[in-house]
């Protein structure tokens, strides 16, 4: 069997897992995880096979399944033939690694995490459904198939966030997630239509080829030839989809609420995979964006704004998962900033590293929550370091990674983003990015400090029952911790920053860059964003130093305030100081605590005003539209009873009526006669 033949199985296996589990999972009870987990394991194997083939060779794989929508045109208008097919190139391959690996680990982790849940089988069915959707998303080779997957991941997210549907907050969060996503999807859908209008094809590669600027891809037309829908508009519409799915400002509000879902879901969907879909899509559509540089700037602005906004909120949140959620927002903001400045490879790099360490952090937080019996408020934790050491150490690794301390993964990717931003003339992006880096390091260690260090604030009743999670949960943690440590190194080797430092040629490319740069070269050249050789002693060194410095500053600040217990080092927590600090900037503190009031704004704008609009519409419908209908009926009826009054029952009245009629008749005949 060729590799091509294997590609469909990447989707088919989880699909089969979903169908089977949904059908008979209930009967399998506690054994119901075997099929879905097995399916994902197999998928992982196949995916790795495919990935290695693709990444080693230089060709991509294209698989056509069936003609999905054969909507023919009439009289010269273009046919709309959508083919359901898969396409694997380097970018997809990279994504496949992230999705299948983390997916598999989360599946395994869930065996332990969900063990006591009544909806055990249901959970695995949903998870498999998500995997199906997500894999279609990365494999799609048609915009419409991509959109299908786009929506399906939304559905899975809805199902999984609302998994504990008896909880009102969960069902509300699920609904909110779906609806906010839909807002972006409207733009995305319109963008797809615009693409067809411009290019008469929905194949991703073909259409991008046509939309791209002349310098971006051979045959690209984007610039000089006016399309019916300008490229910039197309790009904006498409970007709207990304904003929704990746929870960028102003559609970021759903992601923190989505933490109502079970923690493995947060790890898989809301950290490692689904939320990255927007990044993936914009990266995939790089020729299109390259043809509209002003949109690129917009993307960068949105990204970096989201990054600082979310980071500022994460500073003060007390729910452990919410901190992570805002952190995710913030990191996604980095990625978009990166995309916006033209550093596509860096964005994907960060996507990968972030996927692993954020997955790790979420799973770790799940383990914590599990340990303290479904408590998520960090104010009721503390001092857990000893009681759940494995969780502690893995989470610490994750925190270091995300804070950008070398040589862990986060450092490499984040540094690359900031460096590229600066070098490509986006100094403001860099500047804000640096601030975000400080904040990131700070709130991550605040989280670690509040959770693991210091005195225990755990409920007395729960305290004795705290226990480390079973191996089926901790092993995935460790498996994720490994890439969190080494992935940056591996993927950037032998390129910068470490390669030149260790004697590799200055223009050597890292592993990931080798894989991906062919995909982005055209766009980058068109944008004039050539990557100059790495200068360790020059500007690059300075930027690198700055990155590391700010990360350390952030960590130290958190350390100072929230105490540290790192092996022999013992610090103390200073709640009073924290309070004093917050009291000094009351507005900022409240803004952060209240998430800059976005939820309230949304509530007023959409729930309250929307409710008014809908109520008014219903009133209008009842009283005016239907009222006119009923009014016509009533008028008819009333005129009927009015006319019936003529029928008095008295013959003389009737006769008088007849006589009057006779007179009128005679008069009319006179008129008629006069007309002759």
């Amino acid at each position: 069997m060729t590799v091509e033949g294997l590609v469909p199985f990447i989707v088919a296996l989880p699909l089969a897992g979903f169908v089977i589990t949904a059908a008979i999972g209930k009967r399998l009870g506690k054994r119901s995880h075997w099929i879905p987990v097995g399916a994902i394991a197999l998928t992982w194997l196949i995916a790795m096979l495919v990935v290695s083939t693709v990444l080693q060779g230089d060709q991509s794989i294209s698989v056509t399944l069936w003609q999905w929508i054969p909507a023919h045109g009439v009289g010269g208008s273009p046919d709309l033939i959508v083919t359901a097919g898969f396409f694997v190139d380097h970018l997809t391959a990279v994504l496949l690694i992230v999705v299948t690996t983390i997916g598999l680990l989360v599946h395994v982790y869930s065996i332990g995490y969900m063990a006591h849940d009544a909806g055990y089988w249901r959970f695995f069915a949903y998870l498999n459904l998500f995997m199906v959707s997500m894999l279609i998303l990365v494999l799609a080779d048609s915009w419409l198939v991509l959109f299908v997957a786009w929506e399906l991941v939304g559905l899975s997210s809805y199902l999984l966030v609302g998994f504990w549907y008896r909880k009102r907050s969960a069902s509300l969060a699920a609904k909110k997630a779906f609806l906010v996503n839909r807002v972006g999807d409207v733009g995305f859908a319109l963008g797809i239509m615009a693409i067809f209008l411009d290019t008469h094809t929905l194949n991703i590669r073909d259409s991008l080829g046509l939309l791209a600027g002349p310098g971006v891809l051979p045959g690209g037309l984007g610039g000089p030839i006016p399309f019916p829908i300008p490229v910039a508009i197309v790009a904006l519409l498409i970007f709207a989809g990304a904003v929704g799915k990746s929870a960028q400002f102003p559609l970021h509000v759903w992601l923190p609420d989505a933490m109502e879902g079970p923690t493995p879901v947060s790890a898989l969907i809301h950290a490692a995979t689904m939320v990255n879909a927007g990044v993936y899509m914009v990266a995939r559509a790089n020729p299109l964006f390259a043809a509209a540089p002003q949109v690129m700037t917009f993307v960068a602005a949105i990204g970096i704004f989201t990054a600082i906004l979310a980071a500022s909120i994460a500073m003060t949140q007390t729910d452990i998962k919410r901190v992570l959620a805002y952190s995710t927002l913030s990191q996604l903001g980095y990625m978009f900033a990166s995309l916006g400045v033209g550093a596509y490879t860096a964005a994907i790099f960060h996507l990968m590293t972030h996927g692993f360490f954020k997955g790790l952090l979420f799973l770790g937080s799940g383990s914590v929550i599990h340990a303290v019996h479904e408590e998520q408020d960090m104010r009721k934790m503390g001092g857990l370091r000893k009681k759940i050491p494995q969780t502690y150490w893995t989470m610490l690794i994750g925190a270091i990674a995300i804070s950008g301390i070398p040589p862990l993964a986060g450092f490499f990717s984040k540094d690359e983003i900031l460096g590229d931003a600066f070098k490509n003339g986006f100094a403001w992006v860099w500047a804000i990015g640096i601030v975000v880096a400080v904040l990131t390091a700070f709130y991550m260690f605040r989280l670690i400090g509040l959770t693991f260090w210091g005195e225990s604030r755990v409920d007395k009743a729960v305290e004795p029952k705290i226990h480390e999670s079973p191996p089926v949960m901790t092993i995935p943690l460790w498996l994720l911790a490994i890439p969190s440590v080494v992935l940056g190194l591996v993927l950037s080797w032998p390129g910068p920053p470490l390669g030149p430092l260790l004697g590799q040629p200055a223009d050597a490319k890292g592993l990931l860059a080798t894989w991906l740069s062919p995909m982005f070269e055209g766009a980058q050249q068109a944008l004039g964003r050539t990557e100059a050789a790495f200068q360790i002693g020059g500007i690059d060194g300075a930027l690198l130093g700055a990155s590391v410095a700010v990360a350390v500053i952030g960590v130290l600040a958190a350390w100072r305030l929230f105490g540290v217990e790192l092996g022999p080092i013992r610090g103390r927590q200073h709640p009073a100081q924290v309070q004093a600090l917050t009291a000094r900037v009351p507005f900022l503190y409240r803004a952060s605590l209240n998430k800059w009031w976005f939820d309230d704004l949304n509530n007023v704008l959409f729930v309250v005003i929307g409710g008014w609009v809908a109520t008014a519409a219903a009133w209008f419908d009842r009283n005016i539209v239907d009222g006119i209908v009923n009014g016509i009926g009533a008028v008819t009826r009333r005129s009927g009873s009015g006319l019936a009054r003529v029928q008095t029952g008295r013959v003389q009245n009737y006769a008088l009526g007849i006589a009057l009629g006779l007179l009128v008749m005679a008069g009319s005949y006179f008129v008629i006669a006069g007309g002759h």
Binding site: L643, A644, V651, A655, I658, A666, Y669
Partner: protein, 491 residues
């Protein structure tokens, strides 16, 4: 008077003889219902046969006072049918109330002779006397339940206003005679041709004559604003009589219109068309609007019959506007309306077999459960009256509307308005017809009464009426040919 004359008037003469025969039978076997019925029905069959046979060879008799043509044949058959139906379902109503069948049959047959004579009249005097022969028995029949206050009240209202209108009609007739100097219909037409072509002035005397005549005729067909008698007379009359009154004199009066307006006043058709259009508009609209508010089914059907007059007038107007289809539609409508309306009244009569049962809507509550077949048949008739396909009422309505639309497209905008108003009216009419259905099928009966047993004749009549109602809707072809022949005879 020659033998040919006798042959030509044979249907009419036989009908008169039939009336005498029933009288004789009743004298010989007093109170024998079956003998009377048998005589009447067999007699009617013979008259019908004679009509058909004579109808093969059109001709005139008594100078030109009696004209037998395809129209005569068609209308005669309609009248015979109407009377036969009435006789079929009358006994079930009359008997429990102690009313004799013999006089009823005799008077009814006399009325029929009048109607038949109208359809054959070639002379205005004959026309007038025939009209009186048709309506006078109608007055008597309306008051036939002479101990019943409603019946006599209806009768006296009907009689007084009817006589009033007869006098008006006659006055108009006199002036037209004076104007044209002849009583013969064909001669009048040629005389008026001069007026129409501008060869003679349109004299005020003629205008007065036409106005009075139109008024008289409008009264007879119950066109608004000359309709006042209809609701009271219909409601008060014994139900079989109402059934008869709602179709017999109406079709008869339309026959009068055909002979008088369509033939005699043909040259002036563009003039009276205006009047007919206005009358049609008023008639349809008022009939339907007032019917909406009625709670007595007989009275409601009275208003509905006014509305149907309006639809028929649409056909007449279309004919006046130059479309022969209008005339065909009118004739078709007459036949279809007779079948369905008689059917509806037959059901009411059947319900009233138990004396003391009113015709209020409440009577119909739960009928669909108590007596499903009656309910279903009533629904059929009501749907037909509404004009829902595939029933006779639908095709008839479509026919007159077709004619109006044709006239409208030929440039007569008034007919277009008429067509639209007609269909809007039809939609409004659905409300009150369907309300009866609501009562029958969607209401529970107020008191559980045992189902009545209805006579075989009643069922026969109902079956025949329903078959015709459906037949005229599904396969209008057969009737169409006849109608077109009939229309061609005068158009």
């Amino acid at each position: 008077m020659t033998l040919d004359d006798l042959r030509t008037i044979a249907p009419f003469a036989l009908a008169v003889v039939l009336a005498m025969a029933i009288l004789l039978v009743d004298l010989i076997r007093p109170g024998n219902r079956n003998a009377v019925l048998a005589t009447a029905l067999i007699g009617l069959a013979i008259v019908a046969a004679a009509t058909v046979i004579v109808g093969q060879t059109p001709g005139t008799a008594f100078g030109r006072a009696y004209t037998a043509d395809a129209l005569t044949t068609f209308l005669d058959l309609v009248f015979i049918g109407i009377v036969a139906f009435t006789l079929l379902f009358a006994p079930d109503y009359l008997e429990p109330r102690g009313l004799p069948l013999a006089e009823f049959s005799i008077v009814l047959v006399f009325a029929m002779t009048g109607a038949m004579l109208i359809s054959a009249a070639g002379d205005l005097l004959v026309l007038f006397i025939a009209l009186e022969l048709m309506v006078l028995p109608g007055y008597l029949l309306a008051g036939y339940h002479k101990t019943d206050g409603y019946s006599t009240e209806g009768a006296i209202k009907y009689f007084l206003l009817g006589s009033f209108s007869s006098a008006i009609f006659l006055f108009g007739l006199a002036f037209v005679w004076g104007m044209t100097g002849t009583t013969n219909i064909a001669d009048i037409a040629s005389s008026l041709g001069l007026v129409a072509s501008g060869g003679a002035p349109f004299q005020p005397g003629l205008a007065i004559g036409l106005a009075f005549m139109t008024t008289g005729v409008a009264f007879k067909i119950a066109a608004v604003p000359f309709h006042y008698w209809t609701p009271d007379a219909y409601q008060g009359s014994p139900t079989p009589v109402t059934g008869y009154l709602s179709v017999g004199p109406k079709v008869g009066a339309f026959a009068l219109i055909l002979r008088l307006f369509v033939v005699a006043l043909y040259p002036l058709r563009e003039d009276w068309m205006v009047v007919v259009v206005v009358l049609a508009l008023l008639t349809m609209t008022l009939g339907n609007l007032v019917a909406l508010t009625q709670t007595n089914v007989k009275r409601m059907l009275a208003y509905s019959s006014i509305a149907h007059t309006g639809y028929m007038l649409v056909g007449l107007a279309a004919y006046a506007a130059g479309r022969e289809e209008g005339l065909q539609g009118l004739l078709y409508y007459g036949a279809a309306y007779s079948a369905m309306n008689l059917g509806a009244f037959a059901v009411i009569a059947a319900l009233q077999k138990r004396a003391g049962v009113t015709s209020n809507l409440e009577t119909f509550a739960g009928l669909g459960r108590r007596e499903p077949w009656l309910g279903i048949l009533m629904t059929l008739f009501l749907l037909s009256l509404t004009g829902i396909p595939p029933t006779a009422g639908f095709f008839a309505k479509a026919y007159v509307i077709l004619a109006a639309v044709q006239a409208a497209q030929a440039g007569n905008a008034a007919l277009g308005v008429l067509a639209v108003v007609a269909v809007l009216n039809a939609a409004a009419a659905a409300f009150y017809y369907l309300r009866v259905v609501v009562y029958m099928f969607m209401r529970e009966p107020q008191s559980e009464q045992p189902a009545l047993r209805h006579g075989r004749l009643m069922w026969t009549g109902l079956a025949a009426a329903s078959i015709l109602t459906i037949l005229f809707g599904i396969a209008p072809g057969a009737l169409l040919d006849v109608v077109i022949q009939a229309a061609r005879a005068i158009a």
